[in-house]
Amino acid sequence: MTHATSMGLDSRKLAFWTFIGSECLLFGSLISTYLVYKGQSVVGPYPHEILNIPVTSLSTFDLLASSLWMVLALAAVQRGDMKWAKIWLLGVAIGGLIFLGFQVYEFTSFVHEGLTLQRNLFGASFFLLTGTHGAHVAVGVIWMLTLWVQALRGRLGPQNAITVEIAGLYWHFVDVVWIIIFTLVYLLQ
């Protein structure tokens, strides 16, 4: 964007910060509902019987690591090092896919253990909260792959590093939300 802006901030970036502010209220409502309904389910399975902290710690670690790849991808794009930019962008996408794989595994095993959307309040609020987060990760993966394809076609470079920066804001935000979910849902049972 070539125009000077009143605040000196890129408009797309500013818009994205307002979007993140809005998303905070979305996840805030979902997390609040989960917490309000904690212990209110009248039938099991209950959280402590089913949540698998070791496995989820692995997927959490994977998602956190992908945030680091994201930082490295942006740095590479900014300095015009497109070889590493492609590698890191693909890395972020793969990190996201691995996280989603863990989530698919987790959801499947929960359903086998009897926890479904309909089973109890824990199931409903848990699946909707983590599912919404997973949907955000999935959108992020598609976004990263799109950027990666752009980079392969030679359409990404320091001149439009801002698009990678904004994708990075999104990715880090989704990551921070997961840290909150992991803490409140998994660790503080």
Binding site: H3, M7, T18, S29, Y37, L117, A124
Partner: protein, 591 residues
């Protein structure tokens, strides 16, 4: 550089010009306002006499639900959006909003969402659970039909439109101001737009979540609001009103902004206490988040919660009262011209005071418990939403339509419009205070003659039809003036802000040269500066785009999956949406 086409259907379908999008918002909102008003007239006709038999109880439920939903989401909010679109870029000295295609997307999503919700009438299953949609009434057990599905999905679609517009206008106001136009020189209407949009982007995600829960309860058999499974219907009430109360300010703050422009212009005085008016508006925005449970006193939340929300509700009257005093002080000693816009602005102050006072009266839980779910509440919120928002919007129409069309509205017809509306609304809504306090509940389709409320209800009904006549005068005025109105010229009122410095209607690029602002009232304090030099080259106007419309079309297709039970529509709608977004992202489009 090819300019966008300027006439024909295609030019409207692909437009990204904020002024044209504003015009689309205006006419769509106007049409929905008439539909919502028609629903109100049928409601009042039904209640004109005891034991009314015009409509069935079932139809009546659909009518009051769609009256409320239509007026809030399809008439008033989009009408404020029409003014945001038209006026904010002109007031801040910009050539367009910051994301013109996102702006078009907002409009198309709004239009399609409104059509989706109203399509329910075609199959005789319009939403019938009230605009607040309380569970369990709206849950699968008590509302098994498609009615509530249309409501839930329609609101979800409309929420997308509001959110997208919210991001767009916040960034536009923060980032596209003309050189020298600091935040404390920003016209109050643009300030109130900014506060409103912050409320939109924070309030709408909350109702989105509430609606997703309801959708899941209805479609997938979850138990979010089912008490037997440990769920709590009060959760819906909290989530709905955490959204719903800021929503009230989303509706009133733009009208306050309009009035803050109209009063100074026709008093020939700067707004009294500009800074305080702005800060009061911001404070209302913040405090609007801490009062939601006053809608829920009858739930029995306990003394601590009740006390907190009672105190917060009384406190929020302070910044509101401050604004009222500032408006009155603006009039004081001014050279007042009672144009139609001014009449509506002064009417706004008077009516909003009445609505505000009855509002404070149910800030107190013991008093509220006597009033809740009676016509007293109906009287209250119509004084703030009709006496406030609608009169404010009418003031804005008479003030700014000359800027939009280049022609003045008729003052004579305007006078008819004002007096019919003003008298009509007091006839309609004032008796409702008594009707409510004497015990008539809301949302009942008929009442017994023994209640002795027949006369007052008849007066109220007559008043509603008087408002209808007033609205007819407005319709005639707006249509007539398009051809026959007096040419307005760039500045028919001697306004102080930048929109009056350019021709009416403005050229596609608004400003030949972006102005430099040196004061809060640029047109009053600058001695007509040397005519700005002509731009060196033709000003670039972005071309139109099809993709906002295509992307928007994906949403109602996805929503149709729930009401038709065709899963494939989800994938089709998502494909259309994603396709539209990708084409949009990668089409050449230089702003």
């Amino acid at each position: 550089m090819s300019n966008p086409p300027s006439t024909g259907l295609r030019s409207w379908l692909t437009t990204t010009d904020h002024k044209r999008i504003g015009t689309l918002y205006f006419w769509t909102a106007f049409a929905f306002f008439l539909i919502g008003g028609l629903e109100a007239l049928i409601i009042r006709a039904q209640l004109a006499q005891p034991d009314g038999s015009l409509v069935s109880a079932d139809t009546y439920n659909q009518l009051f639900t769609m009256h409320g939903t239509t007026m809030v989401f399809l008439a008033l909010m989009p009408m404020t959006a029409a003014f945001f679109n038209w006026i904010v870029p002109l007031q801040i000295g910009a050539r367009d909003v910051v994301f013109p295609r996102l702006n078009a997307f907002s409009y198309w999503v709004f239009l399609l969402g409104g059509l989706f919700m109203n399509a329910s009438f075609l199959i005789g299953a319009a939403p019938d659970g009230g605009w607040f949609g309380y569970v369990n009434l709206t849950g699968p057990q008590y509302s098994p039909g498609l009615n509530i599905d249309f409501w839930v999905l329609g609101l979800q679609i409309l929420g997308v439109a509001s959110l997208a517009a919210g991001f767009n206008f916040i960034v536009t106001i923060l980032n596209l101001r003309a050189p020298g136009l600091t935040m404390m020189r920003l016209p109050v209407f643009s300030w109130m737009t900014l506060v409103t949009q912050f409320l939109v982007i924070t309030a709408f995600p909350v109702i989105t979540v509430a609606l997703v829960f309801l959708l899941f309860d209805r479609t997938f058999g979850t138990n979010f609001y089912v008490p037997a499974a440990g769920g709590d219907p009060v959760l819906w009430q909290h989530l709905f009103w955490i959204f719903g109360h800021p929503e009230v300010y989303i509706l009133i703050l733009p009208a306050m902004g309009i009035v803050s422009e109209v009063l100074p212009t026709f008093s020939r005085k700067p707004l009294f206490g500009y800074t305080v008016v702005v800060y009061s508006g911001v404070l209302i925005g913040f405090m609007g988040w801490g009062v939601w449970s006053h809608h829920m006193f009858s739930v029995g939340l306990g003394p601590i919660a009740d006390s907190f929300f009672a105190a917060a509700t009384m406190l929020i009257a302070i910044p509101t009262g401050v604004k009222i005093f500032n408006w009155i002080a603006t009039l004081w000693g001014g050279q007042i011209r009672f144009t139609t816009a001014m009449k509506f602005a002064v009417g706004f102050i008077a009516m909003f005071i009445i609505g505000g006072l009855s509002g404070v009266s149910h800030a107190s839980p013991p008093s509220d418990l006597q009033q809740t779910d009676t016509y007293y509440v109906v009287a209250h919120f119509h004084y703030v939403l009709f006496g406030g928002t609608v009169l404010g919007l009418f003031a804005g129409m008479y003030y700014w339509i000359p800027k939009m069309t280049g022609r003045l509205l008729s003052e004579r017809l305007g006078s008819w419009h004002f007096w019919l509306t003003f008298i009509g609304m007091n006839l309609t809504f004032f008796p409702m205070h008594f009707i409510g306090l004497l015990g008539m509940p809301r949302r009942i389709y008929t009442y017994a003659p023994e209640l002795g409320l027949g006369t007052m209800n008849l007066v109220s009904t007559i008043g509603a039809f008087v408002i209808g006549l007033g609205t007819l005068a407005l319709v005639i005025n707006v249509l007539w003036s398009r051809r026959h109105g007096e040419p307005a010229g760039p500045d028919p009122w001697g306004g102080a802000t930048l929109e009056w410095s350019i021709p009416s209607p403005p050229p596609p690029h608004n400003f030949d040269v972006i102005p430099t602002v040196t004061s809060r009232l640029p047109r009053w304090t600058t001695e007509h500066p040397a005519a700005p030099s002509a731009p060196g080259s033709a000003v670039h106007v972005p071309p139109g785009s099809w993709w906002p419309l295509v992307a928007a079309a994906g949403l109602p297709i996805m929503a149709s999956a729930v009401v038709t039970k065709l899963l494939a529509l989800v994938f089709l709608g998502a494909a259309v949406l994603v396709f539209g977004i990708y084409r949009w992202a990668y089409e050449p489009f230089e702003v």
